[in-house]
Symmetry: C2
């Protein structure tokens, strides 16, 4: 073991050395991430038995019914079942290699960029401590007698003043209704939940006894396509559970524009509001159940969403967001009682929504700027949030300019025939054997493949391009991948990623030309949006000192794969940092720290906004980006070289 508690794994042949491998790492996953090709057709479930390797060193697992006894006795193991427990040497036999050893001898791909651990993520932002805007205070009151029979509420307020230093607290009316019995239930010992408002402290709940140790919040990323929730323990500062679901509004339209259009129908706005609340209810139930936390121990909720999502969640009319000059109803929404939105939570819980900047630069991006620490950095930073709404911010702690564009849901598995969110069973990594066109895949959790998520579709398209199976125009090349490329019932070409025998559903999982077209438009919009933004401040990519990439496609996006399809230019991977779900990160911080809530408001006020609607420069950039990786190859020298052999 190295000093840092990680291991070194060496792959043979090729003498490929991987350092810093964490304890328990999955060997097949490690190989794929490092660009070491090992056959794998079933997603890492042990079902296909193709990933046989000889392993020396300290490890666990590697057995499977699919591994013949002879092979096992000969020292072979299934890489998909092996967990690294020490320094290893792994020898890949010829039968497990993709084709001949070409894969092992071709040039190493660029590294994956910096993917942050949860601990790293917490450290992205400095100068805060767990000090939430909503806090619990436990106090013991003197019981009344004939000489001192002031009303219960006054007694509580006096106690808050003398015991907790909270002066002139207002008290939410709902906390008064049951106050008499609550005060007497545990012999005048109570826990008061107090929120710090811009207009002073306010008691929102009083509960019997000492309940200060049970203090939770729920933070939400309300995306156009996906909704993510985390349950936070405000007492310990830890994340207790998380969950995600597709936003129930999807059935009313893929992007914010179609949602706004639907909201203007009779009953449309209400339907959209109920749909998103329905999804939030699901994820809230999930995190509460996972953690075994009572819903009344939630003190507050924080939601980050784009401007349209924020309007629709709160049932605010978004009509003029899509009509020039693009005016939202409000950018700073007051906290709203969560139950008034239709959520099945205790009446005292308020929902805080992140402040927005403009119609198309919303609370999610403000949240991302907070969560990633961009608002504190001295370096000129590009922050890109890749979702259905692609958003980009450039700047540092002194200035911030933002823009957004509609990318469509492809990066979240939406609008993709077998697309899915980055959850268990999603194909998140793909390799294509260059000669035969055979796919090798890895699923999240090593489960039977269910579908393909954002990083999987990026991987697949990048590999198909590099293998010469897919043309730069997004069309398959007939006969380029043998049995893996076929025509479907609609007479369209499709590439078979997994055969039905290995999938959870029993049917083939494929990538179609329409899927690829959606991905092309998605990456084209992001690339064009970033370029237009940089151009608007007189900069180009070279002037950007660091790039933060956020998004719901999972944390496994490989920077070289993203560059291969033209989502980003080819750049030094060290300039990239993946922050995962940036808006959830910011929501966490704001939930933990009232100082961060204040910072979020400051960021929303200081950020300026470049409008891409009706922007000719953006339209030109977008049209030029509808090609893999781009019509202009100057930013893609590596791809130019690879693709040159197919032209």
């Amino acid at each position: 073991m190295s000093e840092t508690g990680t291991y070194t794994v060496t792959f043979q042949p090729g003498d490929i050395v991987c350092e810093g491998v964490p304890h328990g790492a999955n060997l097949l996953r490690l190989a794929l991430m490092e660009g070491v090709h090992i056959n794998a057709s079933c997603g890492g479930t042990g079902a296909c038995g193709k990933c046989k390797v000889a392993v020396k060193g300290d490890f666990s697992g590697g057995k499977s019914a699919k591994l013949p006894r002879d092979d096992f006795d000969a020292g072979l193991r299934l890489a998909c079942r092996v967990n690294v427990l020490g320094d290893l040497t792994v020898t890949i036999p010829e039968e497990s290699r993709m084709g001949d050893s070409a894969a092992l001898t071709h040039e190493r791909r660029p590294g994956p960029g910096r993917a942050l651990t949860p601990q790293d993520l917490e450290k992205l932002v400095a100068g805060w401590s767990v000090d939430p805007i909503v806090k619990k205070y436990t106090l013991t009151l003197e019981p009344p007698d004939a000489a001192n029979n002031i009303d219960d509420l006054s007694r509580l307020r006096l106690g808050l003043k003398s015991q907790c230093g909270i002066e002139a607290a207002s008290v939410d009316f709902h906390a008064v209704r049951e106050l008499p019995d609550v005060l007497r239930q545990e012999d005048w010992r109570v826990t008061a939940t107090v929120v710090e408002t811009s207009r002073g402290p306010k008691v929102i709940q009083v509960a019997p006894g000492d309940q200060s140790a049970q203090d939770y919040s729920i933070v939400l990323d309300i995306g156009t396509t996906s909704i993510y929730a985390q349950l936070l323990d405000l007492a310990s500062g830890e994340t207790v559970a998380q969950a995600s679901e597709y936003n129930g509004q999807i059935s009313y339209g893929d992007d914010v524009i179609s949602r706004i259009v639907y909201s203007q129908r009779k009953g449309g706005r209400k339907a959209l509001q109920q749909a998103v609340v329905g999804t939030i209810t699901q994820v809230v139930e999930q995190v509460l159940k996972k953690a075994g936390v009572d819903r009344c121990q939630i003190s507050h909720m924080v939601a980050a969403g784009n401007t349209t999502m924020t309007h629709l969640l709160l049932d605010v009319n978004p009509k003029y967001i899509r009509i020039a000059p693009y005016v939202p109803a409000a950018t700073f929404m007051p906290p709203v009682r969560a139950d008034s939105l239709g959520l099945d939570v205790c009446g005292h819980i308020h929902m805080y929504t992140f402040p927005c900047v403009s119609s198309y630069v919303g609370g999610d991006i403000v949240s991302g700027v907070i969560g990633s620490g961009v608002f504190q950095t001295d370096k000129v930073t590009l922050y890109v949030d890749i979702g259905t709404n692609g958003e980009a911010v450039v700047g540092n702690r002194e200035w911030l300019v933002a823009t957004s564009c509609s990318a469509g849901p492809a990066f979240e598995g939406g609008g993709i025939k077998h697309g899915m969110r980055a959850t268990r069973g999603a194909i998140e990594a793909v390799q294509v054997e260059p000669r035969t066109g055979e796919p090798h895949i890895l699923t999240i959790g090593g489960k039977k493949p269910v579908g393909i998520c954002g990083s999987g579709i990026i991987d697949a398209v990048a590999e198909l391009l590099e293998a010469g199976i897919l043309g730069q125009n997004g069309e398959f090349k007939e006969g380029a991948a043998g049995e893996w490329l076929r025509k479907n019932e609609d007479d369209q070409w499709e590439y078979v990623l997994v055969r039905g025998e290995y999938t959870a559903g029993g049917g083939d999982i494929v990538v179609t030309e329409p899927d690829i077209d959606n991905l092309m438009r998605a990456k084209g919009a992001i690339f064009a949006g970033v370029n237009t933004l940089l151009d608007s401040v007189g900069m180009d990519m070279d002037a950007v000192e660091q790039i933060y990439v956020a998004g719901g496609f999972g944390k496994y996006l490989q920077i070289d794969r993203a560059a291969a399809i033209g989502l980003f230019p080819e750049m030094d991977p060290d300039r990239f940092t993946f922050v995962g779900n940036g808006s959830l990160l910011g929501a966490r911080l704001v939930s933990f720290s009232k100082d961060m809530l204040k910072s979020a408001e400051e960021v929303a006020r200081m950020m300026t906004n470049i409008e891409l609607s009706d922007n000719q420069r953006f339209m030109d950039e977008y049209m030029a980006a509808l090609f893999f990786p781009h019509t202009e190859m100057k930013y893609f020298p590596r791809m130019e070289q690879i693709l040159s052999k197919f032209s």
Copy 2:
């Protein structure tokens, strides 16, 4: 006409001169109020034809199908149908007199005390102007363009600052939801409703166009037995309509104690809350309908009620109000959204409830102290509110001590067999012919008698006592009133006040011994409460410089009749002022003036409280008062003399 626009009416025989008679006054009513006895069996509807008088001077009316042509030609008119239009001389012929002329020749009764006109009432309190806590502001905003496309809410707030001088206004979330269309509906001209809260200005509604001229409030007196409502025009400062109903909670118990007991049953509190809200809904509908005012033009509501009524209206647990040491949940309730209480009003309307002092000195008495100006006066004042909860305050602008006791609903017509509220058709005045025991009555509005209200039952009992028909112990004297006194089916004595032929319902209207017993206990509680209060501050009635009497029994309470039954000691009537519904008066002021709202809070804080529960002095006083007028006759020399002839 005199200089003050009133007239002089002289009754003959007896040369009884009434000055200050207002234009249009009803002649029969005037006679009864002045103690001039004229036969009247039907309540003043013209149906019995008994009140024939000869009238000289300027008047209108006086005809009836019941007035024979010969009598009319002889110059006779029915007093109940005559309206005074100038100075009059009225001669009462023998046939219209009660018995012989004894009634006209016996000593004049003491005057009625000072009954205030609406104008007088407004002048009771000094130093306020119409400046409500909730105000409407009309403003015109600049439409957005590409160069200035800030969100609608920020645009509104900037306009409020620059055009109305309202800085840092918070905005109720509900006003944001439809803001975009509201702003654009009348071309960026809007009316904002702004409430001044203790924590700064808050916009609660935004409406299209200029709606500042339509600005109303509803004030409510939430009594244990009756609920009164007034619709106020905040723009003009006038009362537009009023209405009243029995509190729907009556079916759950007559007094606050039985209501609290009921509230502790399963579902009881909710049932009580819904009952009072049901009644409020009725009176609100009535005033809106009468005035033709749209419910969305209401800016706020103000309710004054005792502590238990306030708790139950707001669905706050009143449990410990009735358990020593008698602690309410809260005395100062925050404003509450009226629709959250179940009222069918616009979402922005808040209900302000008067602050209470203690479990048994509630917002109604604070409101009465405000409305009657006691809080401003230098004179030592006794304020007595006679309702189901009898309340008394003594003090002036420097000190105030209050108490309350349960009187039961008799003064509001509750717990009385044919009792009713003081509305049209209620018998409000009664005379009894001393020799025959024949009753003569007057109804509110000169309508067919429907029942008997608080002042009517006081009158009836006083007259029956003075006529020797009722004993001081509250029992009828057999044979003392001929056919008018009879046994009912329950073998109880009852006195027939109106025969069925003259009533609206067709049945006899009677006064029963249980009715009289209820009245005795009611007046006994008030008398004992006042005496205990005065004793607690080392005073007696003689030290009181002025007495304000408030109550829902109507404004026609005759001070000598009240003294006759022992509700008050016999005193100079000039020391009495009738303020009518005192708590409604205070609610009006608070609705009109934010300064008065502040004063109400100050009054609630400065007032101290004498607890009568478990108070032995009060129990002794109460037992001594269960006699007509009292077991101790020293305060009742006139009654002692009258009653001496029956002993």
